[in-house]
Each structure stands twice: as structure tokens, then as C-alpha cells.
Symmetry: C2
């Protein structure tokens, strides 16, 4: 698909983490004006450096209004969504009005829901862009990011892991897995990558003392990459290190790296590799 020209004005619906800030910075660097709609209880306080309005998660009317007032025909929905405090969701009339549509969004696997979120905004007349279209530097490159590279055994674990993730494709599950010496230690489902890594710390194999094993991460088949690209970051390195892993391999160009400089420093310090790999199985 040839890249569409970038807009001159961009709405940014910002959830948690540093990536919404990175997207704002990348947009400004490209001469794109931004209007942030920051989700309360989710978005980082740093986001207030940019033109913004805070809305609660339930203030869909407020969210759509802010984007329209700022004449944003295109938008990016970006950042991780923490489980909201349901008492603070702050439902507004816009949400009530769109409720029938929204209720249909809650059926099926996660990526279906997110596809429907995109469809909802498109039905409201917006073009939804991926954060990586604005900030391609966030994407995992090909090859090692830090000072270390995977060894032969790691490469075998990486290939095994990516093949496993590919086999899970039809089941809308398996964004990540941990493979150690050809053995599948953990498969991620609804618990998320961090929780999966935490349990790996307790799963060292009998007789295995050396740092070994790889976290592999890639989008699920059919995952809506525009608003739900897999992300790794410094926390991923910390948890992988605590689990005794040798490194992290993500699918290049299809996984975002948050705080890349910090992550790579941390990986080098823990003697972990971080590498972008092609998922060819």
C-alpha cells in the first residue's frame, strides 16, 4: 500500500504511556498541528505540553466534539488502556447516544472489538491513522537494537517461537511467548506480556541455571495495527531479565518500542539482546 500523504492537522486520542507523547513530537517535527484528547486516568501528564483537552473515558460526546472543534479529519488513537475505575468513567450524552453501537463492540475477541472501534470513528467521518504512520521511528528495526545479538540457540528459540505464534493465528491469541532451549515456557493469552513474563521467573527448568530463553512478540493475525500495535519497552526488559531470559525478539516493523534509548541501555546493562526479526515461518 503506498503511503497516504500525512494530514496538516491531526487529532490524537491519548491513552497511557510514553508513546502518545512520542507521536505528538513526531507530528510537530513534521509540521503537523496536533489536537490531543487526553483520557483522564490514562494519559501521561506530559501530554499537557501539547494542545490538549482532558476527557473522561465515558465522555464520547466531549471527545468527538474536541476533535471536530479542532477541525481534525484524521486521528490517531494511541497508548495503552488501563482497566478503568468504573465509578470515574463519566458517561456523557454522546456516549448514551452511541451506546447501541458501542454495545455491539463488546462481543468476540479483543482485536474484533478494536476493529469495531476503528469502524465507529470512521462512521463518524474520521480517518484513523496508525501511530507508526506518524512516528515510524517507534517501529522495531531489523536486527539487534543494542550491543548484544542472539546466539545460535537463541535463533532457534526465536524461530520456534514465531512459528508457535503463527500457529495460534486463527485463535485470536498469542501475541507473545517465551521459548527456552526449544521448550515453550509460556504462551500469552488474556493476561498480557508482563504477567506472562512474571510467571516465567518461577519456571526455570530443572538443571537450567544459565541465562537462556527468548521472549518473542508479534501482532496476532488480523490484529488492528492502526490502534493496537504490540509494544515493548523498558519494563519488558526488566521483566525478561528477572525471568532469566537471554533476550527479546520482536517482529520488525510490526511492534513498537517505547522509550527505545532507555530500553536498549537497560538491555545492555542486563546483558540481554533486543532484536527485530522477520517472522517467516
Amino acid at each position: 500500500m503506498p503511503a497516504r500523504p500525512l494530514p496538516t492537522r491531526l487529532g490524537i486520542v491519548a491513552a497511557a504511556g510514553s508513546i502518545p507523547v512520542a507521536v505528538c513530537e513526531a507530528a510537530l517535527a513534521k509540521g503537523i498541528e496536533v489536537q490531543v484528547v487526553a483520557l483522564k486516568g490514562q494519559a501521561s501528564a506530559d501530554i499537557a505540553r501539547f494542545p490538549h483537552r482532558w476527557v473522561r473515558l465515558g465522555e464520547l460526546g466531549g471527545l468527538l466534539g474536541a476533535l471536530r472543534e479542532a477541525r481534525c479529519a484524521e486521528l490517531v488513537i494511541v497508548g495503552s488502556l488501563r482497566r478503568p475505575d468504573l465509578r470515574k468513567v463519566g458517561v456523557d450524552f454522546g456516549l448514551i447516544r452511541h451506546l447501541p453501537t458501542i454495545l455491539t463492540l463488546t462481543r468476540g475477541g479483543d482485536d474484533t472489538v478494536l476493529k469495531r472501534v476503528v469502524r465507529f470513528f470512521e462512521a463518524q467521518g474520521f480517518t484513523v491513522r496508525g501511530a507508526h504512520e506518524i512516528a515510524p521511528a517507534l517501529l522495531a528495526p531489523k536486527g539487534p537494537c543494542g550491543g548484544l545479538a542472539p546466539g545460535d540457540e537463541d535463533e532457534r528459540d526465536i524461530a520456534h517461537g514465531f512459528a508457535l505464534l503463527a500457529a495460534l493465528g486463527p485463535f485470536d491469541v498469542g501475541q507473545a511467548a517465551v521459548i527456552a532451549r526449544g521448550h515453550v515456557l509460556a504462551v500469552e493469552a488474556a493476561e498480557g506480556t508482563d504477567e506472562m513474563l512474571k510467571r516465567c521467573a518461577g519456571l526455570k527448568q530443572w538443571g537450567g541455571h544459565k541465562r537462556a530463553g527468548v521472549l518473542v512478540k508479534a501482532p496476532k493475525q488480523g490484529q488492528e495495527l492502526r490502534i493496537d500495535m504490540p509494544v515493548v519497552g523498558p519494563r519488558t526488559v526488566e521483566l525478561a531479565a528477572a525471568a532469566g531470559l537471554a533476550g527479546i525478539a520482536v517482529m520488525s516493523g510490526q511492534v513498537m518500542i517505547a522509550d527505545q534509548a532507555e530500553m536498549v541501555n537497560l538491555a545492555d546493562r542486563h546483558k540481554l539482546f533486543v532484536t527485530g526479526a522477520d517472522m517467516t515461518v
Copy 2:
């Protein structure tokens, strides 16, 4: 495969749980003399009701000797293996002598290791029988075991779950998974079924309040069923109930049910179904 005639004397290498006891009882009921070799720190004290000798996990010489003295040409290796306290393994000369062979057993996935354990005993001149050959009543039957049966949504979750387990076949992983309303909540890898169920308690989906979801369990492709058949039991029901699941579906004839009467009572009390299903995908 036509059933081979049962032996008149049988060695039983007993690890943890109630199943070794059930196998002894089934053997005696069939007029088979048993000689138990009970693993210290593993086997239940109940096993002492049968002719037995206690050995530590590292006393391979003692174990082989006990079986030979009792003139057992055939044996069953049964029970769950808890992670041993390495200070109490009690290595004997027999283990040292067989160490080169044993070291080669520790490479590759779990089921490969267990296949090699069988091969080791066969190389020592023993025939290794499956516990279910002696005690077929331990096998999950076809259809519901208790008072409840899966509903339509459960049946879809069961089919989805078994299809997922089948897809994981080539990766030596995925003896169990939890599916709720078409969504894969958890996939078991090295952590085991109990740990997987524990984390499901924290994974209720937003908006999901009713008891829903199914634990599916089946052997991994190529799993060595003679010494490593999947097992469910009362503890499985307790954890599935705590996770808010609607029921448990195991592959009939290929999964053992420990303490079946107790398990079914418990399931009925918690209003969970327990069913044996054909895994046809």
C-alpha cells in the same frame, strides 16, 4: 492395538497423588501381585498399605533392585512428580552408573524426556505399562460425569479450545487452555494447569459477571501416555470454580480423573459441569 494380557506380577513406581493407590487397588482386584517402589517425598503414605519399598528419587540402583528382587518384568510408573528437594535426592551407585544415559534425557521438551524414561526402563529389560491399562476406570468417560452438562455456548468454547490444543500439537505445549465466550483466556505451557487456572480468576473480562468459560484438557500430540497421562481431580474443580468457569471438558479416554466420586460431588456442589469429549477437529 489389541490389549496385551496383563502380567501376574507388577512393579509400581509410585510418585505423588491418589492415582498410584488406585492403580494398586485395581491390580489387586484383578489378581495381580504388586510390588510398589514408593518415591520418598513424593508418594502418599497410603501406598504403604501395599507391599512396598521406599526409595529416594536418586536411588535408581535401589529402585531397579527392588523391582528385580520382586521378579517384576512389567511395571507402571505413576503419580505426579513434585519438584524434588535436591538435597534429599539421595543419589546411589545405580544412578551414577546410569548417569550418562540420564543426562541425555534432559534435553528437549517434557514429553521427549518422559519417552526417554520409558526407553531407559525398557533397555533395562522391563515392559512399561500405562496405569490406565491396569485401572481403566480412571479414564474420563464420554459425556457428562456429574449432574450438569455443557450448554450451547459451552460446547462452542469446548470445540474452540480443542481446536486450539490441536494447533499447538507440533510445539510440545498446550495440554490445557481456558476459553470463555469464544475468547482464549489462557493457554497452559510450563506452569501447569493449576497455575493457569489461578491466573484466570483475575482475568474476568470487562462486563462479564456470569459464570462462563471452560477448561479444556487433552494430551499433547505425541505425549507419552504410558507414564504421563493428563490428570484432573477435585483440586481442578476448586480452581475452575474460583476462576468463575462454567465447566471442565477433558478428552475422553485420554485424561485420567483422580478421586472421581469426590470430584463429581464437588463439581455438582459448585454447579460446574465435568464432561468427557471427543477431540475431533
